[in-house]
Each structure stands twice: as structure tokens, then as C-alpha cells.
């Protein structure tokens, strides 16, 4: 068989194949027309990836180029959030003492541990003189240092329950268990 023979044989292909090739081809969209849609889709995905955890109550993801704060007075952010939001997405949970029981109060979300402490203080009716001196990450949890005048509050409320309410409040804020939250009065 020679090339000429095959070229002639191609002439005998089915008529519908001949007619199909004679029809105008489907026009490809120019690549540049798709770029805005692709760019918009990528931007939406990036925003969703960054803010979905935030909506569930966690801190926003660290963006490239930023580094976690390491100052001793700074407040560490939880490395990871609990897998399920315990008390409703987007809320700060504050524990307070009522009688001889602990109660929960949900308030709009707060990011700064100082703000969370202030909310706890308000919920428990504690004076502003009681302050959160520091909040540092340890290997096994978070170390809170509070002014010693917190001890005066046990005169009119159960001191242990009060401290437990603070532990629970800060533990939830950092996504840790209450046992991982240590309180020192100074």
C-alpha cells in the first residue's frame, strides 16, 4: 500500500464525517475573556478560606508574611479551635456566679482577652480595680495573672466558684479546657 492509496481511501469515509468537517467549527472564547471570572472566583475562594473559621468564633487565619506575637505581655491566640462551636458561632461566652452555681451569658464576640476579662468582671459584678495583668501561653495551656484584689471578692461570693468562672470563660475564649487555664493572683 502506498500513501496515495490511503489518501484515496480517505475519500471513501462516511458522508456525515465529510459534512461535519465542512460545518463552521465551534468558536473558542478568547482566553482574556475568562480572566475576570477566574480572578473573581479565586478571590472569593481566598476570602472564604480566610473568614469561615472567623465566623465560627475562631481568630482569622494568619496571612502570609505575618508572624505570631511572642511578647510576654501579648495575648496568645489559640492554635486551633474546637472542632465544633460549643455555644454558638460568633459569640463570646462569659461564665458568672449566681448563688452557688455557675451560669452562662452569651455576648457579642470579643477578640481581645482584656475585653473578655472585662466582660467577665461586669457579669460577676466585680470592680474595675481587679485587672488582668497578663495572659501568656504556656506549654500546657494559658497562664493568667490577675491583681490580688480579686481575693477580696470572695468575701461576698464563693471564691472557688469565682475563679472557676474565670477559668471557664478564658478557656472557652482560647479554645482550651478549663484545666489548661492557670490563674495566679499578684
Amino acid at each position: 500500500m502506498r500513501g496515495d492509496d490511503l489518501l484515496d481511501a480517505v475519500g471513501q469515509i462516511d458522508p456525515d464525517l465529510i459534512e461535519e468537517a465542512d460545518r463552521p467549527p465551534r468558536r473558542r472564547a478568547p482566553v482574556w475573556r475568562m480572566l475576570p471570572a477566574v480572578a473573581a472566583a479565586c478571590l472569593l475562594l481566598a476570602l472564604a478560606a480566610a473568614y469561615v473559621p472567623f465566623l465560627q468564633g475562631a481568630e482569622p487565619l494568619e496571612m502570609a508574611g505575618s508572624s505570631p506575637q511572642s511578647d510576654s505581655d501579648s495575648v496568645p491566640y489559640a492554635a486551633s479551635m474546637p472542632s465544633e462551636p460549643m455555644f454558638g458561632a460568633g459569640k463570646t461566652v462569659v461564665w458568672y456566679v449566681e448563688g452557688d452555681e455557675l451560669q452562662i451569658q452569651r455576648i457579642p464576640p470579643l477578640l481581645d482577652p482584656q475585653d473578655v476579662f472585662a466582660a467577665w468582671r461586669t457579669a460577676n459584678g466585680i470592680a474595675e480595680e481587679v485587672q488582668l495583668l497578663s495572659c501568656t501561653a504556656e506549654e500546657d495551656g494559658v497562664q493568667l495573672t490577675v491583681t490580688a484584689n480579686l481575693a477580696y471578692c470572695s468575701a461576698y461570693t464563693d471564691g472557688e466558684l469565682l475563679l472557676e468562672s474565670l477559668r471557664q470563660t478564658m478557656a472557652v475564649h482560647f479554645g482550651l479546657s478549663a484545666d489548661a487555664c492557670q490563674i495566679t493572683l499578684e
Binding site: M1, R2, G3, D4, D5, L6, L7, D8, A9, V10, G11, Q12, I13, D14, P15, D16, L17, I18, E19, E20, A21, D22, P25, R27, R28
Partner: protein
Amino acid sequence: MEDGKIVELYFARDEAAIARTRETYGDRLRALSLGITGDFGSAEECESDTYLQAWNSIPPHDPAGYLFAFLARICRHLSLDVCRRNARLKRKALVVELSEEMEQCIPAPGDTPCQVDGILLGQAISRFLRTLPAEKRTIFVRRYWYLDDISRIAQRYRLSESKVKTMLFRTRNALRIFLEQEGYAL
């Protein structure tokens, strides 16, 4: 006029069949022949010869559903013959080039004339073409049936010439393998 009605005129041996055919498909047939021969005089001759051959072959053929493909097949065959016979035609180089490309598809090319039925081989090639995606299939048919050159195919399908060449090269290899499997190794 519809293909069915034109074919009825051929069956009725009404010479209006030629006029209706020329009106409906004359431009396309002339363009096809011009694309192969590259010569206006030869193209007009081939067009006229096509009508004569159609008159002589309808009946017994009944190409009501594919009249253009039927006519185009005759026109292509005549144009290729003209091209091969007339060494002065510029397009002869293209026909030689295409024959050489087709040689790559032959499992065992040789100088002996083809003893394989062209119609059966054409049917085998049709089966092969139906396994291809539409774009590859039509590009192959445009190259080896319509005898378009690479730049024309690239323009038609909005592809680069190198992409068209690569596509055709791979399709020819695939055809060779297909013909081997079909038992066309001679």
C-alpha cells in the same frame, strides 16, 4: 432546493437536476476543487465533470440524505487525479506531501499497488475517526479529505500551526496502530 427533490429530478432524468445542483452546491464544489488543484480552470473542469458523473451514477445511487458529500467525493477524486496528472500544477506538491504523511499511517508501506478494497479501507478509517474527539476528527478530515494546508486549518480552528501539526502527527500514529489491529499490515 432540498436534496430529496434534487435527487428526484435525477431519478426522473430531468436535466433540471444539473441546474439545481449547480445552484445549490456549485460554489462549494468549485471551492473544494480549487483548494486541491490551485487552478481556476482545472477547478471549473472538475466541477463540470462532477455533474456529469453524478448524472451517470444517480440512479442507481440514491444520495438523498447526503447529496453534498456524494458530489464532493466525486469532485475530490477528479481533482486529485488532475493534480497527479498535471505536474505543472502547484498544488501537486501538496498532494505529494499529503501522500507522504499518509504513508506514516500505513502499517507496512510498500511500492506495490494497493490490493485492498478502497471502500472497505474507507469504512475502517471512518470507524477510527469516530473514536476521536470532534475537533481532532474534523481537523484530520480537513487535512486529508479537503486537503487544507496547515495554516488554513490553524486559522479555521483558532489554533497555532504547531498545535495542528502535533495533533495530526498523533492522529496519524493512532491510525497506524488502528489499521494494524484491523489487519491492514501488508
